[in-house]
């Protein structure tokens, strides 16, 4: 072995290892290039979006939310503005733009003469915040203040203002449950709605029409496109999009009737629903107790909302659609319809009412009427609300048929009214009772059900809509609150709600006439006589519901009144009025006077003009 051959072998080994090194270096360069390819070409779009998000910090320009009017709205002519927006402004500044703390303090002091701020406190707050970021000095200031700031630019350097319209509910709690209120998006709402373009800082309808029609009312916020650097310092500002106001809404509700119903209910808890059977329009809908939406949207609302939520009277509950009660004697209409339609009875059939009904069995059980009525036919049994008559009727029809007709009349399904949160009533069944109580259906249950007691529970809107069906000869429309939607400038009608048939109940004209006649007797000589003094013929039916909980001494009964006008041939003018008063004692005592005031207002407002003419003509 010579020296050179060793050297040659070593050189050979070196060459081999160099090759490994070269391959290693090349692979690393290839990996770097591949990752660049991956970042820049494959994922380039995502990163471009992220870069844009980094540099754009847009300032929203809030869109004015749509206004809400009552049914008589005509542009510039009449109608009542129920909800509007009040112009309001935020005064802001960017602290860094001041040359010195002294100058900032000086401007703040000057500002405190026209705006309610404490310069020292504000100054301390500013020092804690990012100096490049917009700082809110004072919100909700009037246009006067803005005018002063704008006209004295030298005195107020670097002070800016922003539009921040505030929603105003012009009639406070009068429309609380129907129109609802707005509020900031909560986490769940934001997560489910962000795909629809909702932003976390926006407000959203939280109840009633505000919630249901939020997409119409909200409009589209504009924004100022603001390019910022890493310290959120503004590099560039331009208007990115001007705001586009929300659409205005015309309700079916008549302000006058709503006000009358509200006043008539007084301090009672309960609800009034006034419907137009020929279309399903809601003329009035009041639920008490209520709340003031203005308080809920005010700045310091947390305590108010907490107190309202904790209130045992449940002021947030819209009793018209979110609460179930025993229908009591108003249900006698259902029993009567079931008996007539199944031909188990006829209108002239009489029963004798001695004041009680004895159900025979192993042990006899007495069911009472509120007073002995003597001999009655079906008309007067409805008119006088005789329970014994209906015990007999119920026993002859049987529970299954009553349940079936209650179902036909829509008492166990929601009406589909266009505000959120409606619940459905409850009509029991034999199977349900067996499953729930492990007991079969007793005759006593049938007797209870035939006068609307026992397990039955209905919402006021359901029973009101049931009467609409009867008045309308079996055709039931879906009740609705929003009549028209206008463009922001009220020049064009964007949509108009058309009446929507919910169902058609095949009831014979004879049955319908019997029920209407019976309800007419109720006004003429029965439990609703308070309403007899009007020229327009009114029909009614009272109800007094026993409740299981004795919440108030002596008053453990709810009062119902269900009525319509005018009596006679079905007309498009007919109006159904439903009154429900929690713990109202007797329907005849508590609910009828409320209905009386509402009918009075309806007549005064000309709802039955054609009937009045007829009456005059007849005279």
């Amino acid at each position: 072995m010579t020296q050179t051959s060793l050297k040659a072998r070593m050189l050979e080994a070196f060459r081999k290892r160099m090759l490994v090194f070269i391959i290693g270096v090349s692979s690393i360069f290839a990996i770097l290039a591949l990752q660049l390819f991956n970042l820049q070409l494959i994922h380039g779009k995502e990163y471009r979006l992220k870069a844009t998000m980094n540099m754009e910090n847009n300032i929203p320009i809030p869109a004015p939310r749509g206004e809400i009017y009552d049914r008589h709205f005509q542009k510039g002519v009449s109608g009542t503005v129920l909800v509007s927006n009040r112009p309001s402004f935020n005064i802001t500044t960017i602290p860094e733009t001041f040359k010195s703390d002294a100058e900032l303090m000086e401007v703040l002091t000057r500002l405190s003469t026209i705006v309610e701020i404490v310069p020292a406190d504000v100054f301390a707050e500013i020092k804690k915040s990012n100096p490049w970021e917009r700082f809110l000095l004072k919100d909700d200031v009037t246009f006067d203040v803005v005018e002063k700031v704008a006209s004295h630019k030298n005195a107020f350097p670097n002070i800016h203002w922003e539009d921040a319209p505030v929603r105003v509910y012009n009639y406070g709690d009068l429309f609380a449950h129907t129109i609802g209120y707005t509020g900031s998006l909560n986490k769940d709402e934001y997560n489910s709605l962000k795909s629809q373009g909702y932003k976390y800082y926006q407000s959203i309808g939280k109840a009633g029409v505000e919630k249901q029609y939020d997409s119409q009312l909200r409009g589209e916020d504009g924004f100022i496109r603001r390019t910022v650097d890493v310290n959120n310092r503004t590099e560039n500002e331009e208007v990115g999009q001007t705001p586009f106001g929300g659409n205005n809404i015309v309700l079916t509700i008549d302000y006058e009737i709503q006000q009358a119903a509200f006043t008539a209910l007084g301090e009672n808890y309960g609800t009034v629903i006034v419907l137009k059977p020929s279309t399903g329009e809601v003329i009035a809908m009041v639920s008490k107790p209520g709340y003031d939406p203005n308080a809920i949207i005010s700045k310091d609302n947390s305590i108010i909302i907490r107190d309202l939520n904790a209130d045992p009277k449940k002021p947030f509950l819209n009793r018209s659609i979110q609460s179930r009660y025993p229908p009591a004697s108003t249900f006698k209409i259902v029993t009567a319809i079931a008996a007539l339609e199944t031909e188990k009875t006829y209108a002239d059939k009489t029963y004798y009412c001695p004041g009680k009904y004895t159900l025979q069995g192993y042990v006899d059980h007495d069911f009472y009427c509120f007073k002995p009525h003597g001999t009655l036919d079906l008309y007067w049994a409805i008119g006088k609300s005789c329970s014994v008559y209906f015990y007999n009727l119920g026993m002859s029809v049987g529970p299954s048929m009553i349940m079936k007709y209650a179902g036909y009349l829509g008492l166990n399904e929601i009406t589909g009214i266009d505000i959120p949160g409606e619940i459905s009533g409850f009509v029991p069944s034999q199977r349900w009772k067996l499953k729930t109580f492990g007991q079969p259906w007793f005759d006593g249950d049938t007797i209870n059900m035939s006068i609307g007691q026992g397990f039955l529970a209905v919402t006021p809107i359901e029973i009101a809509n049931m009467l609409c069906g009867i008045v309308n000869n079996g055709i039931v429309y879906k009740p609705y609150l929003v009549k028209q939607i206008f463009s922001p400038d009220n020049r064009t009608v964007i949509s108009e709600t058309k009446k929507e048939k919910l169902r058609e109940i095949p009831l014979s004209p004879a049955t319908l006439n019997t029920i209407k006649q019976g309800m007419r007797y109720s006004v003429q000589g029965g439990t609703s006589q308070w309403l007899n003094h009007f020229k327009v013929p009114i029909c009614g039916k009272t109800g007094t519901a026993q409740t299981r909980s004795n919440r108030k001494e002596n008053v453990s009964q709810h009062a119902w009144f269900l009525g319509f006008a005018p009596f006679g041939e079905q007309t498009d003018d007919a109006i159904v009025v439903t009154v429900f008063i929690e713990y109202g004692q007797w329907g005849a005592v508590a609910a009828v006077p409320v209905a009386e005031k509402i009918f009075g207002k309806l007549i005064q407002q000309g709802y039955f003009k054609s009937q009045e003419k007829e009456i005059i003509l007849r005279k």
Partner: protein
């Protein structure tokens, strides 16, 4: 000296590529230093031009002095820089928590940069001297010592990134210098075994992981670990002695792995017991920056956004939003590559890689063509320094390597690294020119 012959012999491609790279870098530093709000440049690029001028002088100086003299004075150079490094670490004014700079008023020098070159020179000389014996395991001791002395000093500064780069450079030089591959692999294995278990334990403890794995449980008990390591060591010694007398080659297959595992376990006991928890955590964060999302994690996210948003053609010079609006951190120094990728796009970034590739390619050529062992090793060391800077820096910026504050040679703002690497280029040029004088 600078006669016609000099310009004929020098590596025009290499020098040209270096000039292109540095001028490219200065342009990017100009862009990164631009403040659009006030339309004023911070002026770092002017300083970088001055560093470049000085760098050119260093480069040509290194091209002229016979590089073999560097080998002759290797130990003096090494000793001198160790001394400077010690002074810096002990007395240097800390900048951002690191005592790595020696300040001379208008200029601050980072001696650890020059330490890289001195270590490479010593290693190259040593590998030349022990060319025949390097296959012996004990010959690896001196190169390791030469490397680890400055590494330990730099760790004390503390400057993890700079310290870390010495290790791959050492291994590359040993590998290409002819060391036994099994020795190198053994060392790497020992280090891996020593680190894996303490790190895993620290990580699990940190993340609140309660594992029932008995192997892991075993490492919690130090005595068990110690016993296992001891037994393995005894086996290794026994088989080594047997091998010494009987010379049965299969015994090699016993005592080498046994020694490796045993040493690894001993070291892991040392790390587990002697290192404080925060020190182990620091190593963990170095290995996986995601563990500290508020620290280095943010930088990497912004850097990836800058690079990704650049797309194919980039946003244009001075038009990078991430760069110009300040979202990209350290944009003139460690993250200058992201500026290139954002403003000049995929094309620009690939062009940058090409320039660096050409420089490395020329370096490899010089190393392979020179007949002189010292020259070849020296060239390899210099290329390694440059290559690992590229790998660690760009790898970090594009998010595939741990975050370490290493500059991208030729591009990042800063004098020391530029002087060092240009001196290295000068030496490469020198090796190439001397070749023809053989």
């Amino acid at each position: 000296m600078f006669n016609k012959d000099f310009f004929n012999k020098m590596d025009v491609v290499l020098i040209g590529a270096v000039f292109l790279a540095v001028i490219f870098g200065i342009l990017m530093i100009y862009s990164a230093g631009f403040d659009p709000a006030v339309a004023v440049n911070k002026g770092l690029y002017k300083k970088q031009i001055i560093w470049f001028m000085i760098g050119i002088i260093f480069m040509f100086a290194m091209s002229i002095v016979n590089y073999r003299a560097l080998g002759d004075y290797a130990l003096y150079i090494y000793g001198f820089f160790i001394f400077i490094l010690l002074i810096t670490t002990a007395f240097g004014r800390p900048i951002r928590g690191t005592s790595a700079w020696l300040s001379f008023g208008f200029i601050s020098i980072q001696p650890s940069e020059f330490m890289k070159l001195s270590v490479v020179i010593v290693l190259a000389k040593y590998l030349e001297l022990r060319e025949r014996d390097i296959k012996n395991f004990r010959e690896l001791l001196v190169p390791s010592l030469v490397t680890f002395i400055p590494v330990l000093i730099i760790l004390k500064q503390p400057d993890f990134g700079t310290a870390a780069i010495f290790i791959p450079v050492l291994f590359t030089m040993l590998f290409l210098g002819g060391a036994d591959v099994s020795h190198l692999i053994s060392i790497i294995l020992i280090a891996v075994i020593a680190l894996v278990f303490p790190m895993l334990l620290t990580y699990w403890e940190w993340a609140g992981y309660k594992g029932g794995n008995f192997i892991v449980q075993m490492f919690v008990h130090v005595d068990v670990l110690f016993t296992v390591a001891g037994v393995l060591l005894l086996i290794a010694i026994a088989s080594f002695i047997t091998h010494y007398f009987l010379n049965k080659s299969f015994l090699r297959k016993i005592y080498i792995p046994a020694t490796v595992v045993s040493l690894g376990l001993f070291l892991s006991v040392v790390i587990q017991n002697w290192f404080k928890v925060y020190q182990k955590k620091r190593i963990l964060v170095f290995l996986n920056p995601d563990l500290d999302p508020h620290g280095s994690g943010y930088n990497i996210i912004q850097s990836k956004v800058a690079i990704g948003s650049g797309g194919f053609f980039g946003k244009g010079f001075l038009q990078g939003t991430q760069t110009q609006l300040g979202f990209l951190p350290e944009k003139t120094s460690d993250f200058v590559f992201a500026v290139v990728a954002e403003e000049l796009g995929f094309i620009g970034a690939i062009f940058l890689l090409l320039i660096l590739g050409v420089i490395i390619y020329r370096g490899i050529q010089i190393a392979m063509e020179t007949r002189d062992k010292f020259g070849a090793m020296l060239a390899i060391g210099i290329i390694s320094i440059l290559f690992y800077h590229i790998l660690i820096n760009i790898g970090m910026v594009i998010g595939i390597m741990p975050v370490t504050g290493l500059p991208l040679s030729f591009f990042s703002y800063g004098g020391s690294n530029l002087f060092m690497i240009m001196m290295g280029i000068g030496i490469l040029n020198n090796i190439k020119m001397s070749r023809s004088s053989y």
